[in-house]
Symmetry: C2
Subunit: 116 residues, 2 copies
C-alpha cells in the first residue's frame, strides 16, 4: 500500500552575500540534521535558489509521509543538532513579512495545480 | 528497477488580475494537456502561487523520468491542444528577464539542496 503523501512548498529570502555560505553548508548538510528530517517523515526534499529583480530567494519543496505533521515538526525543532544548524542558516535568510510576523523563516506557498 | 528521476523547478510572474482565471483553468486542466504531460514522462508536477512584495509569482516543480528530455518537451510544444492551452495561460504570465530574453515563460531555478 502506498503511503499518503502531503506536499509542502515554501519560500524565504536570502542575503546575497550569504549565498556562498548557504551553498557550502548544504553541499555537506550535517548527518544529524538529515537523520532528523528523515525520522520526521520528510522525503524528496529540495531547495532552489533564484534571483528576482535584484533580490534572492530560496524555494523549498518536500513531501511528508507521516501521520502527525505537527508532532514530527516539533521533534525537528527540539533537536539540538538542528538548533545548531539553524544558528548557521537563520542569519543567511530574510523572511518574508508574513513569516516574520509569526517569528518564522519560511512562508508557505499555495498549491494551484497538481498532477501525479 | 526504479527509474532515474530528474527534478525541474521553475518560476514565472503572474498578473494579479489574472490569478483567478489561472486558478480556474488549473482547477480543471484540459485532459489532452494532462495526457501529453504524462506521455512526455513528466510526473509529480505541482505549481504554487506566492505574493512577494506586492508582485505575484508561480513556482513549478516536476519530475522527469524519460530518457530524452528535449524530445519529450518538443512533443509537448508541438501538441495542438497544448498550444491552445498556452494561448490561455501565456497572457496571464509575466516572464522574468532571463526567460523573456529567450522568448520563454518559465525561468529555471538552481538546486542548492536535495535529500531523498
Amino acid at each position: 500500500m502506498q503511503k499518503k503523501v502531503k506536499r509542502y512548498a515554501s519560500i524565504t529570502g536570502i542575503k546575497k552575500e550569504k549565498i556562498a555560505y548557504y551553498k557550502e553548508l548544504h553541499a555537506a548538510t550535517w548527518p544529524g540534521v538529515l537523520d532528523r528530517i528523515q525520522k520526521s517523515n520528510i522525503h524528496n526534499y529540495s531547495i532552489y535558489l533564484k534571483e528576482i529583480n535584484g533580490n534572492y530567494f530560496l524555494f523549498s519543496y518536500f513531501e511528508y509521509v507521516g501521520d502527525d505533521y505537527d508532532a514530527d515538526m516539533k521533534k525537528i525543532a527540539d533537536d539540538a543538532e538542528t538548533q545548531s544548524w539553524w544558528k548557521e542558516t537563520d542569519p543567511t535568510q530574510i523572511p518574508l513579512p508574513d513569516a516574520a510576523a509569526k517569528g518564522e523563516i519560511w512562508s508557505t506557498m499555495e498549491e494551484v495545480f497538481h498532477t501525479d
